[in-house]
Amino acid sequence: MVEIDDLTKDYAARRVVDGVSFTVGDGEIAAVVGPSGSGKTTLLRMINRLIEPSSGSVRIDGKDTRAVPPHVLRRGIGYAIQGYGLFPHRTVAQNIATVPRLMGWARARIDARVDALLDLFQLPAAEFRHRMPNSLSGGQQQRVGVARALAAEPNVLLMDEPFGALDPIIRTKAQSDLLAIQRRFGTTIIVVTHDIEEAIHLGSRIAVLDAGKLVQYATPADVIARPATPLVAELIGGDRPFRLLSLGKVVDLVEAGPASGEPIRADASLRDAYAELLWTRRDVLPVIDATGTVVGRIRRDAITVRAGAPS
């Protein structure tokens, strides 16, 4: 759990982060969004004390971050950044082993952990362990960066635009990989992003910063449905119905009844189902589960109701 309490940062006369408070529960993902210069990076870097707050405090699992020296604090918090920051003179394995080595793990334990992480990130250990970072593709470097951040099994992971440099297809894949790994380890994640779509996809909650102030901290559905300020509404943009639909799953609206034609999977998003209905000019779709068995149908009308503003 990460509790951020009245955190403020002043540079000369400028207040860059202004009294921000919010709490990220265990195993939650908080996505921090906001315009450029709104203080997202500064906020994130105050959590692991790469930047010392001017005032306010941060508690991680109940413990004040000022209770230990900064370098000790940082070894317990995962840190992944845009550009990845891999060490070009060290192999992939050495990069991933950075924090375990700083923490003095035994050799065998480090090796086992590195191999496990490489396999988890679909980088076969035998092939990638001894590669140098500059011989990897951007997507591979990104995965090594996150693997390195998770190497010492931190409870909390901080990420600053971790997918910013990836092309859209690899980016979507990296996001779902991150979600899968997060579910597996139960890591609490605070991720800064420019991309509202990414924030909606990843975040259990979204924190919106505007000129250093936290203007909204709520679930994606709430942020879309009830933007707290005009800036939040502008960030969400005119696609609100579709963003809402992208949050829901077909399984939420499945009902009994007949339907014909190409079916849709129960775990697809409502947005995909709606697109399929429009494209094939149908009013109902058969719904199947992961094994291919028909479990019911979904109606266009039901989806349309879900896409409207909450009353």
């Binding site: 317990g76 950044i81 891999l86 951040a149």
Partner: protein
């Protein structure tokens, strides 16, 4: 801007390539041929009745028995043809090295041939034709090595082979009748002593400069405000002529020796090794400090930030990330300083520090050019070896990560 022009670049270079390949000659080869050709009209060796009189030049065919002279002439002519025409670099390297070997053996034979039997006074030294030919074919070899893009380790291997060949040639006695080796024979033990002193001055001042300069560079990297003043002071030192700096240090060090017993006990005095070391150290400082700062500045900011963010202490970050990543740049400064110091240490002989400069200045004093060469040739050779070895090392250090990535 770059994006706009880059599509045209391949076209431009393609045109340039075709234009170049239409020329039937190799451009540098023509220059080398001109040098080697004109060398034929210059004396191959110089003969003097004794070491200080003016010499008379001897053309190639007068300096060697006919058969050997003809062989060398044909070899050089073949080399010229090869240099001018477009030939594979491997051939150019092999032939130029072979001709260099032939030239070295021939000058030894010429000295024996020209010296009247039993004459200990007569001197035979390489003539301008010999030097020009050596230069021309050394250039051809160097150019071929560049074109072959040889791996650094192979370049060091070639250098070692050349050094071994020269050592064997010297040991075989083939060159013993050459004037420079006559001078050597007269001062064999002083030569090695001065050579050791020379190396000690150059390497010692370099070591001190690295030990002091790298930490200073690290401090300056952290404090931008101090950078400009410190670097400009070091810059000013660089502009002081070497002789003046050596001279300037005599007074303060003499005072130190006279007034601080410890200094005197350490052997510090106004003349000799102390001012020479200090002066060489002062010259070395700017390259080392400046390159350390530049190297640290060029560490990728993301890697540095990640190192901090993952909980490295400042010391761990410096030793584990910043210094390894700036190592190639720092090594480049060591190369610059070593080559520079090997040259500058010659001047140190003037203030009694010893070194190979001793022979240069004695030779000038006695107007004995052979003695000057006894000091100058090894100095140039040392600087050359240092440059080749360190260039190769710099290249290995900076491509290490790329190479390991390919494995």
């Amino acid at each position: 801007m770059r994006r706009a022009t880059s599509p045209e670049a391949p076209e431009v270079s393609a045109i340039a390539t075709t234009a170049r390949s239409r020329l039937p000659f190799d451009k540098l080869g023509v220059l080398i041929a001109a040098m080697a050709g004109s060398a034929a009209f210059l004396p191959f060796a110089t003969f003097r009745v004794n070491r200080i009189v003016l010499g008379e030049g001897r053309a190639l065919f007068a300096a060697l028995p006919f058969g050997e002279a003809a062989f060398l002439a044909i070899a050089i002519a073949a080399g010229i043809v090869l240099a001018v025409s477009k030939t594979p670099a491997r051939w150019r390297l092999a032939v130029s090295l072979a001709i260099l070997v032939a030239l070295c053996v021939a000058i030894g034979h010429a000295s024996t041939f020209l010296t009247p039997p039993g004459d200990r006074m007569a001197r035979v030294s390489p003539g301008s034709g010999f030097w020009l030919s050596i230069f021309a074919f050394a250039l051809l070899a160097a150019d071929a090595i560049v074109r072959l893009k040889l791996a650094p380790i192979v370049r060091i291997g070639i250098l070692a082979a050349v050094a071994l060949f020269l050592a064997l040639l010297l040991a075989s006695g083939t060159l013993s009748d050459l004037s420079i080796l006559r001078e050597y024979a007269n001062r064999g033990d002083t030569f090695w002593r001065e050579a050791r002193t020379h190396l000690a001055l150059a390497l010692g001042s370099l070591a001190v400069a690295v030990v002091a300069g790298v930490p200073l560079g690290i401090v300056l990297h952290g404090r931008r405000g101090w950078r400009a003043p410190v670097l400009s002071v070091l810059n000013v030192i660089q502009t002081i002529p070497s002789l003046a700096l050596f001279g300037l240090l005599i007074a303060p060090l003499a005072w130190l020796a006279a007034n601080v017993p410890l200094a005197a006990a350490l052997g510090i005095s106004g003349i000799g090794a102390a001012p020479a070391m200090v002066a060489l150290f002062a010259y070395s400082l700017l390259p080392v400090v400046a390159n350390t700062v530049v190297g640290l500045d060029n560490v990728p900011p993301a890697a540095d930030d990640a190192a901090r963010g993952m909980g490295m202490t400042d010391w761990q970050r410096l030793v584990g990330v910043q210094l390894p990543l700036s190592f190639p740049v720092i090594l480049t400064s060591i190369r610059i300083v070593l080559v520079q110091n090997i040259g500058l240490a010659t001047v140190a002989a003037l203030i009694g520090a010893g070194g190979l400069g001793v022979f240069v200045f004695q030779g000038i004093g006695q107007s004995a050019m052979d003695l000057v060469l006894l000091g100058a040739v090894p100095t140039v050779a040392l600087a050359f070896v240092a440059a080749v070895v360190l260039d190769a090392t710099v290249e290995m250090a900076s491509t290490r990560s790329a190479r390991r990535g390919r494995d």
